[in-house]
């Protein structure tokens, strides 16, 4: 579900970048990037099996 929302937010960013105002596009971009980071930290829970 989180990825559906994330992709939807990217579609909104792209649509506003092209048809809407630049300021709103920058605001939506910030929200989408923060959402991506949050999703990353939600899923990055596996321990890295590194040997060093």
């Amino acid at each position: 579900m989180e990825f559906t929302a994330l992709f939807l937010s990217v579609v909104a960013v792209l649509a506003v970048s092209w048809w809407g105002s630049r300021r709103l596009a920058l605001a939506l971009f910030t929200i989408a990037l923060i959402g991506s980071a949050a999703t990353y930290f939600h899923h990055a829970t596996d321990v890295l099996k590194l040997s060093f």
Binding site: M1, F3, L6, F7, W18, D46
Partner: protein
């Protein structure tokens, strides 16, 4: 570099991003391999990478627009690097199929790294920033790139919804949640 050349290079970048998104989709459908959460996140960041070029094509090149692309490419490279490290241990077969010897997340890392380097190189040419920053009409070539990216991202909305349904995406998806026969 003139504004016109800068805009054309950005449109070419959009076609490159569209190629990546289409390739990932083709692999998903033809190889019947479901993208994992980190794979979906990398796709999402490839789509978000198009924001900078979108704004450059519409309003003319600005350093701030390139900064958006750099931020997104750095985030994408970080996600791809983590997935590479998850499968770096000896004996680990990796996630999904390999194409030309590399898994998709390795190609994604190369793609994001290339985006960082190419964006930095294009930023060196300050002649493109002399424009007035006003939106101008764009041709079919550039509109085609924009529509391609928007349609491919919208298709990913549908694909992610069919794959994950209304719950959190599983770490190792084996079937589309919405196509799973009800028991």
């Amino acid at each position: 570099m003139t504004r016109s050349l800068g805009v054309t290079l950005n449109a070419l970048g959009l076609y490159a991003i569209a190629l990546v998104l289409a390739g990932a989709f083709a692999a998903q459908l033809l190889l019947d391999e479901l993208p994992c959460p980190l794979c979906l996140l990398q796709r999402c960041l490839f789509a978000l990478l198009a924001t900078g070029p979108f704004l450059n094509v519409r309003y003319g090149p600005r350093p701030g627009h390139y900064a958006l692309a750099l931020l997104t490419a750095c985030a994408g490279a970080a996600v791809a690097a983590r997935q590479i490290l998850l499968h770096i241990a000896p004996g680990d077969p990796g996630y999904g199929s390999a194409v030309l010897g590399y898994h998709f997340y390795t190609w994604a890392f190369i793609g994001f790294a290339a985006a960082i380097v190419l964006t930095a190189i294009v930023l060196l040419f300050e002649g493109q920033f002399q424009g007035d920053g006003v939106a101008r009409p764009v041709g079919f070539f550039m509109r085609g790139a924009v529509w391609l990216i928007i349609v491919l991202t919208a298709l990913n909305v549908i694909s992610a919804f069919v794959e994950c349904g209304s719950s959190a995406c599983p770490d190792n998806p084996t079937t589309y949640e919405l196509l799973r026969p009800s028991s």
